[in-house]
C-alpha cells in the first residue's frame, strides 16, 4: 500500500495555477516584439486573406448564402471554419512540448502534470475568443444573427473539453514517445484537408474509387465541430440532435482517454522528463 505526500485536490483547486501558466504563455509569447498582441490577430487574418484570395480570384468558389438569405461572403464563411481549426491546431502544437519545457519545475515542485497543458490551451483559447468576437462582429454587420447563436456557449464548452482532452493525452504521451510531436504534425496536415474548412462537405464526392470519401470526412470529429459551428452561427440553423450526440460522444471518449493516460503515465512525469 502506498500513500503519497500529494494533496488530494480537484482540477478546480488548481485553477489559479492553470491561469498563471496561461498568463505566462500569453505574456511571454509576444514579449519584446514591436507589435505584441497584434501578432496573435495578424496570423489568422493573414491565413484568412490568403485563402480568400485563392478562392475568390484563382479558383472562384461561390460561398453558401447567409442564413438570413443574403448572398454569402467567402471570407466570413471561411473564417468560421478557420477559427475552430486554428484553436485545435495551435493548442496541440503548443501543448505537446509543454511538459518537456516545464521539466525543470516538474522535478522540483509537485503540481499535477496537466496544469501546464491546460494553461497552454487556455492561453490559446483567449486568442480564439478574440477571433470569435471579430467573427461575430462581421456577422452582425451582415445582419446574420438569430436565436441559434444561443447554442454557441454549449458548442464552445464541448469543443474546449474535447481539444483539452486530446492535448492532455498527446502531451503526456510525448514525454515517453518523442516521435509523437512530429507524427502529430503530419496527421494535422492531413486532417486539415479532411476537414470541410475551405470546402463544403456536400461538395465531397460520396464515393471515389470505392473509397467512401464523404463518410470519412464526416466521421472526422473536427469536421463535426466545424460544421455545427457554421450551422448555428452562419446558417442560423439548430444542429440536429444526432450531431450534438456525436460531438458529445467524441468528447466523452477524449476525456476518458485523457483520464486513462494521466492515471497511467501522467503521475510520474517528475522523474521522467
Amino acid at each position: 500500500m502506498t500513500t503519497t505526500a500529494r494533496p488530494r485536490s480537484s482540477i478546480w483547486s488548481y485553477r489559479s495555477l492553470i491561469w498563471n501558466f496561461a498568463q505566462r504563455d500569453l505574456k511571454s509569447r509576444f514579449k519584446g516584439t514591436a507589435l505584441g498582441w497584434v501578432w496573435s490577430l495578424l496570423f489568422p487574418l493573414a491565413t484568412l486573406f490568403t485563402y480568400s484570395l485563392v478562392f475568390s480570384v484563382i479558383f472562384p468558389a461561390a460561398p453558401p448564402a447567409f442564413g438570413n438569405g443574403r448572398p454569402g461572403f467567402f471570407p466570413v464563411w471561411l473564417f468560421c471554419g478557420l477559427i475552430p481549426w486554428s484553436f485545435f491546431l495551435i493548442s496541440l502544437m503548443t501543448a505537446i512540448p509543454t511538459l518537456l519545457a516545464n521539466g525543470p519545475v516538474l522535478q522540483k515542485v509537485y503540481f499535477p502534470s496537466y496544469a501546464p497543458i491546460l494553461g497552454a490551451v487556455v492561453a490559446i483559447l483567449v486568442q480564439t475568443l478574440i477571433e470569435l468576437a471579430i467573427y461575430a462582429v462581421a456577422l452582425i454587420v451582415f445582419g446574420d444573427v438569430s436565436l441559434s447563436w444561443l447554442l454557441f456557449p454549449i458548442w464552445l464548452a464541448i469543443y474546449v473539453a474535447f481539444v483539452t482532452s486530446v492535448a492532455v493525452s498527446l502531451a503526456i504521451m510525448n514525454v515517453y514517445f518523442r516521435d509523437l510531436a512530429h507524427l502529430t504534425n503530419v496527421v494535422l496536415q492531413l486532417l486539415f484537408f479532411l476537414t470541410p474548412i475551405i470546402y463544403q462537405s456536400t461538395s465531397v464526392p460520396a464515393e471515389w474509387h470505392h473509397i467512401p470519401l464523404r463518410a470519412i470526412v464526416q466521421l472526422n470529429p473536427i469536421a463535426g465541430f466545424v460544421e455545427s459551428l457554421r450551422q448555428l452561427s452562419y446558417d442560423l440553423q439548430v444542429p440536429s440532435l444526432s450531431t450534438w450526440l456525436g460531438l458529445i460522444a467524441w468528447t466523452l471518449g477524449a476525456i476518458a482517454m485523457a483520464v486513462f493516460v494521466y492515471r497511467r503515465r501522467g503521475l510520474d512525469i517528475g522523474e521522467t522528463v
Partner: protein, 423 residues
C-alpha cells in the same frame, strides 16, 4: 499526544536504470525494445516521523538517498511502497528560482512561482511587498528576470519560497548560494521560521548546520536509514564514519604529499624539502590528521652538499588565508646536515588545529640565509571527532565548575554595595 507534521512509514523508492532509452519510434522499430532496465532502490524501508515545529536534518553521502527522500516528502516522486502523510502546506526549496520564466518580470514571476507553490492569488498579493523587500533587488523587480545577475535570481527565488509563510519547509542545500550577506539573511530567516514553529526538513552536507539548526536527523546510507535520533548524535556518528572511511580508502604512500615543481622554490638549494609525511598516533602514515590527537609531521629532505647549520620550519595557513602557526627547529639550535637523503620529525602531543584544510609552507634557513622555501606547497587535512569548537585552533585550558558567591542575590545591587563599601 505529539502533533506530527510528517510521518513516513516503510518508504521505498525504486528507479529503473535504462542503459539507453529508446523513446524514438524508429529506434524501437529498428533495434527492438531497449535492453531490460536494471532496478535501483534509491530508498529502502525508511520510517521516521517529524513533529510539528521540529527541524529535521537528512545527511549522508552523495547518492545516499537524501534528495530522493525529500522529493518523496514533497510529493514530486510517488513512493514505490510505503506511506507518507504530510499535515500542512509544503513549500519545497529544491532549487531557487525553478519555474522562473526569463521573459517575465520579477513581479510576474513571483505570481507564477507562488501559484506553483500552491498559493492563491490573494495570498500572493498579500505577500508581494514582503517578498520584494526580502529579495532586495530594488527597481529590477519590474524587469524581466533574464537580465538578473545569478545572485539576484536566487535571492528572488529564496524570497518567494520563504516569504509565502509555509507550514512545512523543505530545503535542499540551496542556501549555500549568493553573497555572504544574503546567506546570512537566509540563515537568519531559517532560524526565525523555526522559532515561529515552521517545520523544516533540511538536506545538507554541512554538519555545522545540522548541529545548529536541527533537532533530529536521519543519516542515510545507500538508501537506508543508518541512524535516526538527536541531530548532534547522528552528526557525530556520521563524521566518525566518514573519517574512518577516508583513512581506510586512501592508499598510503610514504611520499603521500609530494613536492611540486622545485623551480618555483626560493632559496639557494643546497638542501631541499622533498616531501611531507603525516604520521598518526600509532606512527602510521595517514593522509589526514585527527584534531586533538598526537601526531608527527615528518619533513623529508635532500641535501646536494653538506650544510653546517640548518633550521627547519613549518608554516600552517588556513583556507581563509590566516597564518595559524609556524613552528621551527631554531629552538633547539641549528643542526648540520649531511649530503644525501634525510628527514626531521616534528612531534605534536595534541594537534590543536581545528578540522579543515590547511596549506603548509616549509623552509630551511640559517640566520639570514634561505636554503629552501616552499610557499604553501603542501596540504594538510585535519578531521574532527565531532566535538567541534569555533575558531581555527583549540585553546588549551580547563573549565571549572561555576561558583556561586553566597549572599549576592542581585548582581547589580551587590556591585553598588561593593562600590559604596570601597568608598
Amino acid at each position: 499526544m505529539t502533533d506530527v507534521a510528517i510521518s513516513a512509514e516503510h518508504l521505498s523508492k525504486r528507479f529503473w536504470l535504462h542503459r539507453e532509452r529508446r523513446t524514438a519510434l524508429k529506434e524501437r522499430a529498428v533495434r527492438g525494445r531497449a535492453p531490460k532496465a536494471q532496478e535501483f532502490w534509491a530508498l529502502r524501508d525508511a520510517s521516521f516521523s517529524i513533529e510539528r515545529g521540529a527541524t529535521f536534518g537528512l545527511l549522508g553521502q552523495n547518492g545516499s538517498g537524501k534528495s530522493t527522500t525529500l522529493k518523496v516528502l514533497a510529493g514530486i516522486y510517488r513512493p514505490t511502497s510505503g506511506r507518507v502523510i504530510v499535515n500542512g502546506r509544503v513549500s519545497a526549496l529544491l532549487e531557487l528560482g525553478a519555474g522562473f520564466h526569463g521573459e517575465l518580470t520579477g513581479r510576474e514571476n513571483i505570481r507564477l512561482n507562488g501559484a506553483i507553490l500552491g498559493l492563491s492569488r490573494r495570498q500572493i498579493d498579500a505577500a508581494m511587498d514582503r517578498i520584494i523587500d526580502f529579495a532586495g533587488i530594488g527597481e529590477f523587480i519590474d524587469s524581466p528576470v533574464k537580465i538578473y545577475s545569478s545572485g539576484m535570481f536566487v535571492r528572488l527565488g529564496f524570497a518567494v519560497a520563504v516569504s509565502l509563510d509555509p507550514e512545512i519547509l523543505m530545503v535542499d542545500e540551496v542556501i549555500a548560494v549568493g553573497d555572504e550577506e544574503f546567506q546570512r539573511k537566509c540563515f537568519d530567516h531559517l532560524f526565525e521560521l523555526r522559532k515561529r514553529g515552521t517545520t523544516i526538513v533540511l538536506v545538507t552536507h554541512s554538519l555545522g548546520l545540522i548541529r545548529d539548526l536541527c533537532d533530529e536527523a536521519a543519516w542515510l546510507d545507500h538508501g537506508e536509514i543508518r541512524e535516526l535520533g538527536a541531530a548532534r548524535d547522528v552528526a557525530d556518528s556520521y563524521i566518525a564514519s566518514v573519517n574512518d572511511r577516508e583513512v581506510h580508502a586512501q592508499p598510503v604512500d610514504p611520499s603521500a604529499v609530494p613536492a611540486a615543481n622545485g623551480a618555483a622554490r626560493l632559496g639557494s638549494g643546497q638542501v631541499r624539502i622533498t616531501s611531507l609525511e603525516y604520521l598518526d598516533e600509532d606512527g602510521e602514515p595517514s593522509p589526514v590528521l585527527l584534531a586533538g590527537a598526537p601526531c608527527t609531521i615528518r619533513m623529508h629532505f635532500e641535501a646536494g652538499s653538506s650544510v653546517s647549520r640548518a633550521i627547519f620550519g613549518l608554516g600552517f595557513l588556513h583556507e581563509s588565508g590566516a597564518n595559524v602557526a609556524g613552528p621551527n627547529s631554531g629552538r633547539i639550535g641549528p643542526h648540520p646536515v649531511e649530503r644525501g637523503h634525510g628527514y626531521i620529525d616534528f612531534v605534536v602531543d595534541e594537534l590543536l588545529l581545528q578540522p579543515g584544510t590547511y596549506q603548509v609552507s616549509t623552509a630551511i634557513v640559517d640566520r639570514g640565509h634561505t636554503y629552501d622555501y616552499a610557499d604553501r606547497e603542501f596540504d594538510l587535512r585535519v578531521r574532527g571527532r565531532g566535538d567541534q569548537e569555533p575558531g581555527l585552533t583549540r585553546m588549551p585550558g580547563v573549565w571549572m565548575t561555576p561558583v556561586s558567591v553566597a549572599g549576592a542575590a542581585a548582581g547589580e545591587v551587590s556591585v553598588w554595595e561593593a562600590v559604596r563599601a570601597g568608598q
